[in-house]
Amino acid sequence: MQRVWCRDLPATDMLVRGARVVDPLIGLDAVRDVLVRKGVVTAVGDAVETPKGVRVVDAAGCLLLPGFVDLHTHTRVPGREDEEDLTSVSRAAAAGGYVAIFAMANTDPAVDTAPVLESLQRKAQAEALVPIGLFAAVTRGLQSAELTEMWELAEAGAVGFSDDGRPLANCHILRRAMQYLKVTDRFIAVHAQDDSLMGAGVMHEGAVSARLGLAGIPTISESIDVARSLEIAAYEDGRLHLCHVSTARSLEHLALARQSGVRVTAEATPHHLTLTDEAVESLDSNLKMNPPLRPESDRKALVEALRSGVIDCIATDHAPHAQQEKEVPFEEAAFGTVGLETAFAVIYAAMVPGKQLSLPVLVERMSQAPARIAGIAEPTIQPKRPADFCVVDPRATWQVTAASLHSKCANSAWLGATLKGRVKLTVAAGRLVWEDGA
């Protein structure tokens, strides 16, 4: 069944020569030439001959990787097209090396009926460079009161269900949703948060919030909801996905549940994997996110969980916000950072050279693992498979600025930073959707 939609662009013919091709699905890590004809990979090998009229891209020193898949994008469509639309978000995705992204349902109106879902699919077919899939809401209007028509939404092509942005307010509604999942083969993605503990919190509760006098978000706000959700998933044998896990304690609950056979997957964001609450000392509102940046001990636990597979995948939680929602005092600013264009560069630079994470594992966590969770074909570099890849120059540096980002919003946690690792080109669903400098 179709899970993603995009514009019908001309299929690509291209020979990418001399890149290091890393495809963990088939255990490939070697310098290869990759030939694409009419959007399909036709040859992977040494010194592939150039067919007449086919463009050759010299990629010596670059990486050619299965394209990335983001399970957690806020496209802001419908309702906040001033912040992002499907054209801008898909261009940002393409520039970040993504070949598929999945949109969260907390829009205005929410994606809680099949007609809304179907209208977005048509919009994606008209506007999206990169294939876009859609989450549907678990409850109508994200109110945690009434279930959406989950069967009809699944039939219409929803990838899964989520009220992300909001937690499910009580155990009963999550249980009912888990029960009803049995009529579909989808999953529920939860934003784990106990509102009574979150309170008016704006950053991680700890030594830095004590010093800054900012209301804290305790780790237990997340871990209690993680534990609760795992218990319900176990009891109902429902398929659960944990969004943006940020605390060591949540990971302990998660690891235990996996051992006992609970059907659960989990994601971590680039910002939680690379930044800590110490950065909030600057009171820069681009560092305000929910869940908040945590201390180094949590960050380290998250990296280890990503390495070991307790965390399945990296997801961006790409959350564009208009300038007037971020250019206010820290305490009053909206939560969230954009992330599609910076994800690979920040994680690669922070973890691969220092060997906290191998490149094949990073690629698996950004590409094939999220594809499996979403139920789409895993991007892979093999003959007869559609071309879904990106070419990255790991030596190239670039500065994150409002002008260098393709998202409509510049609320990046890395705004102003110089990053190492640049996506040179992206081929998604056999179409060239991004070429640096083109």
Binding site: S209, A210, L212, G213, L214, E331, A333
Partner: protein, 312 residues
């Protein structure tokens, strides 16, 4: 000379703090003359931008500027364009068009003065931002302590008692007091002590058992809004007073009592102690004027003598 902001006590070195205190001391005689005005900052402009109600801080910054002959503009949230929904950034750009030398700002949200500082050429002085910092209060507290105990405050012990969690005064005082070698502990109901506050190098107590060890007992007001139904920071004001209220019986003779005001007589402080001669509350208010004159002066003329020569 690059513009200098005072957003947090951590913006100041020990030498800066001592210079401000010495400058304040040199201004003190002016306040006791018949003509309480000097021409030092004539032609300079100070904007007082207050998003929160304030009696002593706004009046003392205003008077401090006037004593130094600066022109002042006072903007409060009520009755200005802020009432009409103007953003802090736009208000800052508007006021900056008058090219003020200093913007003094009080705001209910931490991060407000950083935002103002990024959007103006004026020097920004934080007069209280949320629960974050209140550096001029810390400096006037230090000045009061110097007047009481002499210039060397090294080793002096202070117990800060009350709602530490919501107190910007506590945060500024902890760093400022420690900078001058004082030892600080915080005392209060457990939910009003921030988690991991020990990382700031303070002792933590949940009762008054060790209060006698302190040379100075620094009281904080229990704010009524913290008593909202369901907040449950403490069970009742009555119980707070019973456990933490400071009365004669709980003080050692000679222990000094301070409070940033406004006080709640009969809650955190008994009426008898509020009026006691070992209580430094009115001295703190007096210090406030001289210290804020010194802050304005140093912010404009600089922290070194060569800067000062150039500016005056």
């Amino acid at each position: 000379m690059a513009k200098r902001d005072l957003l947090s006590m951590t913006d100041l070195s020990r030498a800066d703090v001592e210079l401000i205190l010495d400058t304040a001391e040199s201004f003190l005689p002016i306040l006791h003359r018949d003509i309480k005005k000097v021409p030092t900052l004539r032609g300079r402009t100070v904007v007082n931008l207050f998003y929160e109600s304030s009696t002593r801080t706004s009046s003392s910054f205003d008077l401090a500027a006037k004593r130094l002959s600066a022109d002042t503009i006072a903007i409060s949230a009520k009755g200005s364009a802020i009432d009409k929904g103007e953003s802090l950034k736009d208000t800052t750009l508007t006021l900056s068009a008058y090219s003020p030398d200093i913007i003094v700002i009080r705001h209910p949200a931490a991060g407000a003065c950083q935002l103002v500082a990024r959007n103006t050429g004026a020097s920004v002085i934080n007069a209280g931002d949320g629960k974050h910092q209140h550096p001029s209060q810390c400096l006037l507290d230090l000045f009061t302590l110097r007047q009481t105990f002499g210039r060397d405050l090294d080793g002096l012990k202070v117990a800060i008692v009350g709602d530490i969690l919501h107190s910007r005064v506590a945060r500024s005082d902890i760093s400022g007091f420690q900078m001058l070698g004082m030892r600080v502990s915080v005392v209060g109901p457990p939910a009003m002590i921030p988690r991991e506050i020990e990382a700031m190098g303070v002792g933590v107590d949940y009762d008054l058992e060790k209060l006698a060890e302190a040379d100075v007992v620094y009281l904080l007001r229990i704010q009524q809004e913290r008593m909202a139904e369901g907040a449950n920071f403490i069970p009742s004001l009555r119980e707070y007073t019973a456990m933490y209220g400071i009365s004669r019986a709980r003080l050692r003779k000679g222990q000094k009592v301070m409070h940033p005001g406004p006080i709640n007589r009969g809650v955190e402080i008994s009426a008898e102690i509020a009026d006691d001669e070992d209580t430094l509350i009115t001295q703190q208010v007096e210090s406030g004027l001289a210290v804020r004159m010194a802050i304005l002066y140093r912010t404009i003329v600089g922290f070194s003598e060569s800067d000062a020569q150039e500016a005056v």
